[in-house]
């Protein structure tokens, strides 16, 4: 296990990972997608499941074949999305939308492997779209970050979107 005690070690790890999240958000705000990919592990899993609004007491059976996903991506799929965004043919992004991410509520916990941590955070994505209107997307994230020769890299991200109906016409953004 990564030793998060004594305090100075914890402080260093929390600072490093918080800075990593902030840096990642700035890369994405600036559409530096190739630099963002450098922060991801080769075996990265990037996932956002679909969900529905259910009664607390609901006992219905799990949905056949699974809930389905908004993102169910590995590195190759993330590159596919970036290929599309970089194609010059995605009219919904030209002129560019003004996008700003706010990342907060960062909580760093030990991971299962000695070189890994679990990092909880909240992300708010504000998009000022081509139509001049604003959209606000919020989500919770649970990440697994892995430390190697190049520093901390993202091994897995589970994103919980806070909208039962997506309040926007596309998800041309990464969380």
């Amino acid at each position: 296990m990564l030793d998060l005690h004594p305090e100075p070690a914890l402080h260093d790890v929390v600072t490093a990972l918080t800075q990593r999240l902030f840096h990642e958000a700035r890369l994405l705000d600036d559409e530096r997608f190739e630099d963002w990919l450098e922060l991801l592990c080769e075996d990265v899993s990037y996932h956002m499941a679909l969900k529905s609004r259910r009664f607390r007491a609901d006992r219905s059976a799990p949905i056949a074949v699974g809930a389905g996903n908004v993102f169910n991506d590995n590195l190759a799929r993330l590159k596919l999305r970036i290929d599309r965004l970089r194609s010059g043919f995605v009219w919904a992004e030209d002129p560019p939308n003004f996008v700003r991410r706010v990342v907060s509520n960062v909580e760093v916990l030990p991971g299962d492997a000695p070189n890994e941590t679990i990092v909880h955070s909240v992300i708010v994505i504000h998009r000022n779209r081509i139509d001049g209107q604003n959209r606000l997307l919020t989500a919770g994230r649970t990440d697994r970050w892995r430390k190697g020769g190049e520093g901390w890299r993202l091994a897995a991200r589970e994103i919980l979107l806070d909208h039962s109906v997506l309040p926007d016409s596309n998800v041309n953004v990464f969380f």
Partner: protein, 448 residues
């Protein structure tokens, strides 16, 4: 309202006011959504007694409930006392629905089952039988698809679908195990008039190579009727635009495989098609088994249901005023498919036409801007056109409907607006014409 002046099918003209006018929209709720058969749910979404699924018919909130005896009923989702919504969940299983406001509760068959203080406050004089949930006038099923209709005078669902069933069955009846919708509902708000996405999918192969060029470059894995990135070429022999079927439409390739053209890794699907094609051909005949099953095929059931076997997305649009919709999408599977094939379909549907769909994310802004550009003082007085390939349609051996060649045509859109106009002009179903053009001879119709 002078509906005759809003649409001219002979020239392919539409007044832009049909996308923005409040008066047009109010009349649509009455004469289109209040009159037509509307998709409610697939039987696979409410398999057990007391399973329920919440949806909309126009702007009316509706609960669809599986009964103890296996039948399906649908009710307005509103308390008969003061009108509060009684079911706030999207789906689930419930033995009763209790209103939040005063605690009236309703059984799954709609009966008013409980009223707090019934004897004390109502003095035992409340006639419960008059205060059950209000049922949707007609509910019927076609091969797993449950439809509802508010108009008791509407034709049967079977007559309503008419010869469009020839195309519906390419999915619904291909294999003996039937079909299912899988995954949670993928819901998205789009600031568009509801007719624009219907028009986009019912016949508009023209936009594909241009609006979706980026996605095609990223994932397209095989030819799709010669449609190419940047719309530099199209093969009009490779597909059909089928309309003239009571407002229903099909837009289809004829190669039997291109439904999977937008799968980055189509091989498992192509193997599945190859293994099952003899069975499908035996059930549906040579034309459908070899040319339609597995093809890219867009099917539209008037007014607001569209699905694409192959790409495997199934969708309804719920209007929220003249300028907004909720778009609901699910993945489509055949029950006879192996589990890994079902999972692959759900996964790829979400990748291509889900909330973060590589293709789907190209359409919303175009439709929203078409709507916005119909709202101005000057633009609302202007027209738009679907006048491509005017007068170039006819009968085609082996396929019902009035048919134009190719996926790039505006033939289907003109029939969509014609049907819309017919409903908007008619004061009741008795004034709505029925037409199933160029019906098949019986020798080809079934099990050829």
């Amino acid at each position: 309202m002078d509906v005759a002046s809003l649409i001219d099918t002979s020239t392919g003209r539409q007044s832009r006011s049909i996308y923005s006018s409040d008066a047009v929209y109010r009349q649509e709720l009455e004469r289109v959504f209040g009159r037509c058969w509307l998709f409610l749910a697939h039987i696979s979404q409410i398999p057990r007694p007391n399973d329920f699924f919440r949806t909309y018919m126009g702007e009316d909130d509706v609960i669809v409930i599986r009964q103890k005896d296996g039948a399906v009923k649908a009710f307005l989702n509103t308390c008969t006392h003061r009108g509060n919504r009684i079911c706030r969940a999207d789906r689930g299983n419930a033995r009763s629905f209790t209103c939040n406001y005063h605690g009236w509760s309703f059984a799954p068959d709609g009966a008013l089952a409980g009223v707090p203080l019934e004897n004390e406050a109502y003095f035992g004089e409340l006639d419960r039988s008059k205060f059950g949930l209000v049922p949707v006038a007609q509910v019927a099923e076609y091969k797993g698809l449950i439809f509802g209709c508010f108009d008791p005078a509407a034709p049967s669902l079977d007559d309503y679908l008419g010869d469009a069933k020839f195309y519906l069955d390419v999915w619904l009846d291909a294999l003996p195990g039937g079909t299912a919708l899988v995954g949670e509902t993928q819901k998205m708000v789009l600031n568009t008039n509801w007719k624009l996405p219907v028009e986009n999918v019912c016949g508009d192969g023209y936009h594909l190579g241009w609006a979706h060029a980026g996605a095609m470059m990223a994932v397209q894995s095989m030819d799709l009727s010669g449609l190419s990135v940047g719309n530099s070429s199209a093969n009009l022999d490779g597909g059909l635009s089928v309309a003239g079927l009571n407002g229903h439409m099909a837009l289809t390739s004829l190669d039997g495989v291109s439904g999977y053209a937008f799968y980055p890794e189509p091989k498992p699907m192509l193997d599945y098609l190859e293994a099952n094609r003899p069975t499908v051909t035996e059930r549906l005949g040579k034309t459908r088994g070899e040319q339609l099953w597995g093809s890219q095929i867009n099917i539209t059931i008037f007014p607001n249901l569209q699905f694409l076997p192959g790409l495997n997305w199934f969708r309804v649009y719920h209007p929220k005023g003249p300028g907004q919709i909720e778009q609901w999408t699910w993945a489509m599977v055949e029950n006879d498919m192996p589990e890994n094939i079902k999972a692959t379909i759900l996964d790829n549907q979400c990748l291509t036409f889900g909330l973060a769909g590589l293709f789907d994310n190209d359409d919303g802004d175009n439709l929203a801007a078409c709507t916005e550009q119909s709202r101005g003082w000057r633009t609302a007085q202007m027209d738009v056109y679907t006048n491509m390939a005017l007068g170039r349609s006819g009968a085609r051996e082996g396929f019902p409907g009035d048919i134009a060649a190719g996926l790039v045509s505006e033939h289907n859109q003109r029939y969509f607006y014609r049907r819309w106009q017919e409903h908007m002009q008619a004061s009741s179903w008795s004034d709505v014409p029925t037409y199933n053009l160029n019906p098949l001879g019986s020798r080809e119709a079934v099990n050829a």
